[in-house]
C-alpha cells in the first residue's frame, strides 16, 4: 500500500510541476534572473505549496505517527552548520545556472529533451561524489 502511495504522490507532484510550468527551466530562470523581463510565477508556486503544506504538515505532525508506517522519517539534525549553508549555496549556484533542481529535472526526463539527461546524469554524479567524499572523510573506522 505504501508503494501505491509513493507512486500517487509522485504523480501528483509531477502534475503540480507541469501545471505550474516549474518543470520548464526557462520559466524558473525567468524568476531567478532579475535583469530584464521578470516572471514572478515561482513565488506563487511556493505560496500555493505552502498554503497546503503548512496546515497539512502541522496537522499530520499532531497525529503523532503516519497512517501506514510506525513513525515519521524525519531529519535528525537541527543545527545550522557550515555544511548546511555551503551545501545550500552550491545548490543555489547550480539552480541559478540552469534553472533546474532535482524534482523538475527528473520529471522532465519524461519530455524526452536530450539535455535533461545530461543534467540528471551530472546531478547523480554530484550526489555520488558527495557520498564518496563523505565516506572517505569518515575513514575506515566507521566504515
Amino acid at each position: 500500500m505504501r508503494l501505491v502511495v509513493a507512486l500517487a504522490s509522485g504523480v501528483m507532484f509531477a502534475l503540480g510541476l507541469i501545471v505550474s510550468e516549474m518543470v520548464n527551466p526557462a520559466k524558473v530562470l525567468a524568476f531567478l534572473d532579475f535583469s530584464g523581463r521578470w516572471d514572478p510565477t515561482l513565488v506563487l508556486v511556493f505560496l500555493g505549496g505552502l498554503a497546503v503544506a503548512v496546515p497539512g504538515m502541522q496537522w499530520v505532525l499532531r497525529q503523532g505517527r503516519p497512517v501506514l508506517a510506525e513513525k515519521f522519517s524525519l531529519p535528525e539534525s537541527s543545527e545550522i552548520d557550515w555544511q548546511l549553508v555551503a551545501g545550500a549555496a552550491l545548490f543555489g549556484a547550480g539552480w541559478g545556472l540552469a534553472g533546474f533542481c532535482p524534482g523538475p529535472a527528473v520529471t522532465a526526463l519524461g519530455s524526452g529533451v536530450p539535455m535533461v539527461f545530461v543534467f540528471v546524469l551530472a546531478m547523480i554524479a554530484g550526489m555520488a561524489a558527495y557520498k564518496i567524499l563523505n565516506r572517505w572523510r569518515q575513514g575506515p573506522i566507521d566504515g
Binding site: G16, G36, I80, V85, G94, V106
Partner: protein, 147 residues
C-alpha cells in the same frame, strides 16, 4: 525590470498540487518528499527500502511521459544553457543538495511547512545565491559579454 509571462493562477494551483503531494506522502508513509533525498537514496545503496523511492520517481517521469496523451500538448522544457553549464549545474545541484541535506522540495516546502529553522536558513541561502548567479549570467548574456 518589466513583468512578463506571469501566470499566477496555474502557478498557485500547481503549487497547491505539489504541497498536497508532500502532505500525502508524509501523512500516509511518514516520508519527506525531498526529491534530492529520494534520488540519492536510490544511488548505490544496499538499503532494501529503495522500492518506494523508485515508485515515486517513476510517478514523476511517467506523468510527464503520458502528459501529451492527457493534455494534448507537450511538456514545455526549454533548456538554453550550453553543455558545460548544464554539466556544471548538475554537479553543483547534486553535490550541494547532499551537503546541505535538501533542495527546493525538501527544505523549501516540507521543511518550511514543519517550521524548521534549518530549512529556513537553507532556503534563504539557496534563493539568494540562485538569484545572484542567474541575474549575473543573464546580465552578462544581454550585454554580449558571455559567449
Amino acid at each position: 525590470m518589466t513583468i512578463e509571462g506571469f501566470t499566477p493562477l496555474t502557478g498557485f494551483l500547481g503549487g497547491m498540487l505539489i504541497g498536497a503531494a508532500v502532505v500525502l506522502l508524509f501523512w500516509l508513509n511518514g516520508r519527506i518528499a525531498g526529491i534530492s533525498g529520494i534520488v540519492a537514496g536510490t544511488i548505490g545503496t544496499q538499503d532494501h527500502d529503495t522500492r518506494w523511492r523508485w515508485l515515486f520517481l517513476t510517478g514523476l517521469v511517467a506523468t510527464a511521459l503520458l502528459w501529451p496523451l492527457i493534455a494534448g500538448n507537450a511538456v514545455p522544457v526549454v533548456l538554453e544553457a550550453g553543455m558545460v553549464e548544464i554539466v556544471a549545474a548538475g554537479l553543483l545541484v547534486g553535490f550541494g543538495s547532499r551537503l546541505g541535506c535538501g533542495c527546493t522540495s525538501g527544505h523549501g516546502i516540507a521543511g518550511l511547512a514543519r517550521f524548521s529553522v534549518r530549512s529556513a536558513v537553507a532556503v534563504a541561502t539557496f534563493f539568494a545565491v540562485a538569484v545572484l548567479v542567474a541575474t549575473s549570467t543573464g546580465y552578462l548574456a544581454s550585454t554580449g559579454a558571455a559567449g
